[in-house]
Every structure is written in C-alpha cells, then in structure tokens.
C-alpha cells in the first residue's frame, strides 16, 4: 500500500508544472497587489495571507527544478529545499486561508491565475499528507459513503418522500432515457430540501423530463477541494457512469459552486475524455427556459434584495448574466453589491474551507467583508445560488447578529411559477 510522503508530494508538484504556471511564476514581481484582492488579507491584515505567498513551496519546485538558473543555484547550494517543515507551515495558508475564489486572479497586473496555481499546489500538499483533517474526513466519507456529509441514499429517499408529500409531485429516481439528470449537494438534501421541491415544480410547469440517480445524486466533490485529482476523478466518474447508463442528454449541476467546477470544467479532464452528455448549471437551464418563454412567473418580491455571486459559478464558472435575468423576473427592488459579478467577494467558506473545523474563527473573521458589503446596501433579503455560500452566510449573519434571510434563487423562481397550485 502506498502512503503519503514528502517524495510523493514533490512528485505531485512536479507533475502539476505546465506552461501557464511556469509563466505565472516567471512573471510575478512581488508587487503585493493580489493581497488587496484577497479577503483573508483585507480582513486580517496579516501579510502571510497574500495570495502569491501561499505558493512559496510550489514556487521553489518551479524555480529549482524547472528553471536553468534555479538548477544552477541548487547545485551551488543556494536554494532552500521544500521539506516537511515548509509544507506543514504552509498547509494552513493553502487550505484554511484560501477559498479558491479566484479574485486575486482577476487583479494580478502580470496576469497570474493565482487560484489556479493554488488548486494545483494542493495536489502536492495532499500527496505529501498535508491537508486539514476536516477535508480529509470529508473526502473519506465522499469516497466510502458517497457524500462528504455522510448522506446515503436512504436519507435522500426519506427527503424525497417529504418533498413529494409537500408538493404532491413525484420526484423521479433512476428513470432511463429522460433528458435531464439532476444532481444535489448534501447540504441541499439535508438543509435546503426546498431546492428539490423547486426543481420538481419548475420542471413540471415547463414539461421537462428528469430524474435523480440513486447511485450518483451527490454533486459535491471533496477531491477538487482537497486537491486530489485521483479522488476527484473517482467521484466524477460515478456521475459520468450513472448519466451514461441512464442515457440522459443533460446533467444539471445544482446550486453549489465547486460542484459546478468539478463536473463542468474539471470532470472531462479528470476522466481524460469529453462527456457523452452536456453539463448545465441550474441557473443556465432556468435562463434558457425563461428566454425561450417556457418558464413563466407572476408577481414580484417586494423585499429589497441583492445577489451574492458564488465564485465558482460566476467568476470561475461563467454564469454571470443568467442570475440577473432570473432575478429581474421576480424581483422589483434588486440592487447590486458594490463589487459584483466577476469581482464579487467570497463568502469565506468556499474551496473546502467550510469543512475545516479549525478554520472556523478565521472564516468568521473574513466574513466581515461580506458583512460590510451587505451593510452598505441595507437589503431585506440575500439571494444566492450556492448551498455552501448560503450556509456560510447564514452562519456569518448569525454570528454578527444580522437578520437577513438567505434564499436560493431557484426556490425564489419556483415561488412565483404561474399556475402552480402553491401560488395564491
């Protein structure tokens, strides 16, 4: 049996090296501007959270092993090695102190995609055994049980019963040959079952055939977060196998940020081939239905509301305009935050940070960024499209005693469906 060792970690770093990363490291002039884009720096004032600083171990591998001059320096004994001590010291920066939100990648004047580099660097950390316990445990549960939160199908089945009872609609499971296979995140199953209900109601109105899959209902991917492509591949593969077995045309990524990144953008590369189906985010699907006139709503929300852009869906997913169109469909008083769309600020719990118990205090501290954004707007309701953001924001609002309800956009749309018996 293999084991996590420094040597494996170094190999993983080496394996991750490619032209983009080499060009990024070559270009960095340590101007420090990425710090100002990172909420871990802006909210703590601690320079160690400067995004590019989080990459020091990876940078050393690049310099010492992938540059001529770095090799010469190593031969001359002028280089500091990457050792266990270094990785241990940097582990909290790479995991607790980064949500992979990618805001830094938007401001770097030389164009470094720092969050991409950190995603790659995590491969080395996890291979060397340096990853937070919370994320390790989530990964173990995801692989062995099928969900990072330990949700098994019977638990989902129970929720399905509740939703069916609530809505009077059938939630299809393991139906072959339908157009859409929906995925859920554990959080939606356990904390926000209203999402499932919303899907059922919307799809009924627009007449979409869909199903859940008992063997691959979990959309989240702990492997992406901990930074192990091997684990991520195993998790993605379950969905691919299921979707191809059920012969669906589309797989719907739920209101969960990193799930979208995992299944939409990383998945095909993890399994090494394109899919036989398309992946759409639920908001993409809804917007398509709206613009084609199939999705009809009535009435408007009176509340003053704003939208929190989930990093992985908006900035790193490319679903920017869809949520705006959908919101304008049902909201009369929608206001944008100061920094929005691709320049939004992270909730502080993305990239697996929400799974790290020891990072809780830090996470709440950096939430102040979102808090002050909300305070500027004085809104009644916050809408978002990521179950993880939703949970983190709810925790943060509770911590700072702010009473702003947080709702999922899909549910809000469902509340306004025309001809739905639930609507008065």
């Amino acid at each position: 049996m293999s084991e996590a060792t420094l040597e494996r970690g170094l190999k993983a770093f080496r394996e991750q090296m490619n032209a983009p990363i080499a060009s990024f490291f070559s270009s960095c002039v340590n101007c420090g501007m990425c710090a100002e884009a990172c909420l871990f720096y802006t909210e703590t004032g601690d320079p160690k959270y400067t995004p590019i600083n989080k990459l020091e171990p990876f940078r050393r591998i690049w310099e010492q092993e992938y540059t001529l001059w770095g090799r010469v320096k190593s031969w001359l004994g002028l280089s500091q090695p990457v050792d266990d001590e270094l990785l241990e010291a940097w582990e909290p920066l790479v995991y607790d102190g980064c949500t992979l939100c990618g805001r830094c990648s938007m401001v770097c004047p030389v164009g470094n995609d720092i969050s991409y580099m950190i995603r790659c660097a995590r491969e080395g950390f996890v291979a060397a055994g340096y990853a937070p316990d919370g994320m390790k445990n989530a990964s173990r549960r995801a692989v062995t049980i099928g969900s990072p939160m330990g949700v098994k199908f019977p638990a989902l089945a129970a929720q399905i019963k509740h939703v069916e009872a609530d809505t009077g609609l059938t939630i299809p499971v393991d139906v072959e040959g339908v157009d859409y296979m929906a995925l859920l995140s554990s959080m939606e199953i356990m904390n926000f079952p209203e999402y499932m209900a919303a899907l059922a109601r919307i799809f009924k109105q627009v007449g979409i055939t869909w199903t859940l899959c008992s063997e691959a209902f979990e959309a989240t991917n702990s492997g992406i977060q901990i930074g192990s492509s091997d684990i991520a591949k195993e998790l993605v593969n379950r969905i691919v196998v299921a979707a191809e077995r059920l012969k669906v045309k589309y797989v719907i990524s739920p209101e969960c940020g990193h799930a979208y990144t995992a299944i939409r953008w990383e998945g095909p590369n993890l399994i090494g081939r394109p899919y036989n189906f398309k992946v759409v985010h639920i908001l993409e699907l809804l917007e398509e239905l709206r613009s084609s006139g199939r999705l009809k709503t009535e009435g408007y929300e009176d509340a003053r509301l704003t939208f929190h852009d989930p990093c992985q869906i908006v900035r790193k997913g490319g679903v920017l305009e869809q949520p705006r169109h959908l919101l304008n469909m049902v909201a009369s008083d929608f206001v944008e935050m100061n920094d929005h769309r691709e320049m939004n600020w992270c909730c502080g719990g993305g990239g697996g940070v929400s799974a790290i118990e020891r990072a809780e205090a830090l996470r709440l501290k950096v939430f102040k960024r979102k808090k002050s954004q909300l305070e500027e707007l004085n809104v009644d309701t916050l809408v978002t499209a990521c179950a993880n953001c939703r949970l983190i924001i709810e925790e943060g609002l509770e911590e700072y005693r702010m009473e702003i309800p947080v709702v999922g956009l899909t549910e809000m749309i469902a509340e306004h469906l025309v001809g739905d018996e639930k609507n008065e």
Binding site: R14, N18, Y66, G129, D230
Partner: protein, 368 residues
C-alpha cells in the same frame, strides 16, 4: 619660480614700455591676454601686475613622432598677433622646425639653453615617443626617449602639445607599431601640461605659455592634465547647437533640411559630448569658425584614443561591433539552448506523470 635667470634681464612691462607702448596699451594687452587665457576680464589687473614682474623664460621645443601640424597650427595661421607678442617675450631657444641653426649648432643651442636656465626652462613637446625600436625616431642620432629624458631633467615644467604628445595620438592608435607613448608616461617627476587636440587650438598653446609667463606657475589642470580654463567644459556644453539637441532636432544627413538649419549633429557621429576643448569659443582660423559651425560633427580629437573610439560618423551611443549579425547567431544559439532546456523540463514533467501513484483515501494521512 621664474625669478631671475641669466639672459632673462628685463621684465615684460619694462620691455613694452621701452618700445613706446603706453600704460593704456599695456592694459589693452593684458585684457587680450586674459581673454586668450580664458580668464574672466576681472583678472586683467592681476595680469597687469604679474606681467609687470614677469621675466622672459626659456622654451625648448622638442618634436618627436608628429606631423608638424601642431607647429603649423601655432605658426602658419598667424600673422603677428597677441600670441606673437607673447612669443617675443619668451625665448624660444630650440625648435628644429623653426630655428635657423641646424645640425650640431642646433643641438649646441639646446644644450646651452638647458645649462643657462637649469631648473627654469619650459620644455614643449609635440609628437609621441616610440618605445619600440629607438631607431623609429631619432634626432641628431639621439633617440626621442633619450632626448626627452635628458632635456626634461633640468626643466621647470613640460607642456605636451597635441594629442600625440598628450595621449599618444595617431602613432598610438591600434596596432601602435612603434610602441608610441605619451609624454606623461615617461615624465613622472615634472609637472606635465597636456594641450591636446589634433592640432591643438593655437591660442590654447600660447595661453598656457602666457599663463606660465604671467604667473610663473602652471594653470589648474583636469584629470587628464589639461588646463581647466580651456578643457573644463565639453564641446557639447559650449556648443551653440546644444538647444537643438535639447529640443530633439537633429540633422540626419549632411545635406538634409536639419543640416541646413544648423541642427544638432549627434546622429551624424558628433563626439562633442565626450570631447573637452575650447573650439566653441576660441574657434579656428582667427575666430572664423570651428568644425560644428562648419557643419561637421566633432571628431573628439582632444581625447585619448580618439582614433580607436569607433567610427567618426557613428553616433556616440552605438557600440563598435557588428551587433546585428552577431545577434542573429546568438539568437540561433539561444533557440537551440532553449530547446534543450525545454526538453529537460518536459522530460522531468513526463517522468513525474509516469511515476504518478494515485492518491487514495487510505493514504491521505502522513504516516511517520
């Protein structure tokens, strides 16, 4: 210094007065002398006072590896002027181009002057000294080196006139077949004044001699041993075309509009910025003009190694070698080496991928 010596009898002021020159005329002479020495007009009274006491010094002029251009500069361009007046009041006791005496008589005159004015006389040298074969240049069977050494032994000071004497000049240019050196490389124990230029400006030569005659001392010198009064500023600093340089107006060829309008000649290879001389103010041919005014860039003739300092028509900022061709070869080598470096990187990356061992949930923990 330069108090009395035999044969130096009267002071300059006395001589002038005896030849019927009024005090007013003497003051005019002093004014002209100050102007010639590039001293401020306010120095004229001090010059008058000093000249009132000055005695006629003996000058021995030695010519070595030279073209006689320096002597030409000094003499040919002159009808009697204030410089000549000065020369009337020094005693040019040996100058083998100018003197009437020849052969042994000439050498005897030199030896007599050296004997009679021991420790007082000035040696003017034009031309460089060959250190290769002594036979390369000799006078009356005496090698240049030997003549210089024995003449300088009793001198008060040495004036190296012209770039050959000052810095080696043309004979010193690569490949320097005669092993030519400058005066200052041989004379270490006497003050040496370098009046460089190819040729030097005549008033600068006489200005230095006038300074010695007037004040009995040598003028203030720059790091290359040249009188500050004349060589303290570069051609560029005193050039009337400098405003065009500042404005970025340059002649591109010798016959374009810029050239006709008198714009800066930097791009045509003017060495003004690195050449220190008084051409811009003293001018040539009795104040008629000077190279830049005539539309040609400065060659930098008053500087060491000016023959080897790149082409006369290359801008000062450009290197000497054929960089373009060199750059092509070098780029070829760079691509080849870069390809090798890239291949090494590539193989490292490939090996790491080959050796990849999948991370499973069982080995998430580091086991000591």
């Amino acid at each position: 210094m330069a108090e009395t010596g035999k044969g130096m009898g009267k002071t300059l002021a006395q001589s002038l007065r005896e030849s019927g020159v009024s005090r007013r005329g003497f003051l005019k002479f002093c004014t002209a002398t100050a102007s010639m020495m590039a001293l401020p007009p306010s120095m004229a009274p001090a010059i008058a006072q000093a000249l009132g006491k000055a005695k006629r010094p003996s000058v021995i002029w030695l010519s070595f590896q030279e073209c006689t251009g320096c002597t030409e500069s000094l003499t040919r361009s002159h009808s009697p002027t204030v410089e000549n007046l000065i020369f009337d009041y020094i005693s040019l006791d040996y100058h083998h181009t100018l003197q009437v005496a020849a052969g042994e008589g000439a050498e005897a005159a030199r030896e007599a002057a050296m004997r009679e004015n021991k420790g007082q006389y000035i040696v003017v040298v034009d031309g460089s000294i060959p250190l290769g074969n002594p036979g390369y240049s000799a006078i009356a069977g005496i090698s240049n080196l030997q003549m210089l050494e024995e003449t300088v032994a009793g001198a008060a000071a040495v004036v190296a006139v012209g770039t050959c004497a000052a810095f080696g000049g043309l004979p010193h240019a690569k490949p320097n077949p005669t092993g030519a050196v400058s005066v200052s490389e041989i004379v270490k124990d006497k003050p040496v004044v370098n009046v460089s230029g190819c040729p030097p400006i005549p008033t600068v030569i006489t200005g230095v001699l006038a300074h010695f005659l007037t004040f009995g001392s040598l003028p203030e010198l720059d790091a290359l041993g040249r009188p500050m009064a004349f060589f303290g500023k570069s051609i560029h600093d005193r050039c009337y075309r400098r405003p065009f340089y500042d404005k970025g107006l340059y002649a591109e060829t010798f016959d374009d509009e810029g050239a006709r309008k008198g714009w800066c000649l930097y791009r045509l290879g003017c060495k003004g910025p690195m050449a220190y001389n008084a051409c811009a103010t003293a001018k040539w041919n009795r104040g008629t003009s000077w190279p830049v005014e005539s539309g040609h860039g400065c060659l930098g003739c008053s500087e060491p190694d000016f023959w080897d300092a790149g082409g006369f028509y290359n801008a000062l900022s450009i290197p000497d070698s054929d960089i373009t061709r060199q750059a092509v070869y070098v780029a070829g080598a760079g691509v080849a080496l870069g390809a090798v470096a890239g291949a090494v990187n590539r193989s490292k990356q490939a090996r790491a991928r080959e050796e990849h061992e999948p991370v499973t949930i069982d080995d998430l923990d580091k086991r000591p």
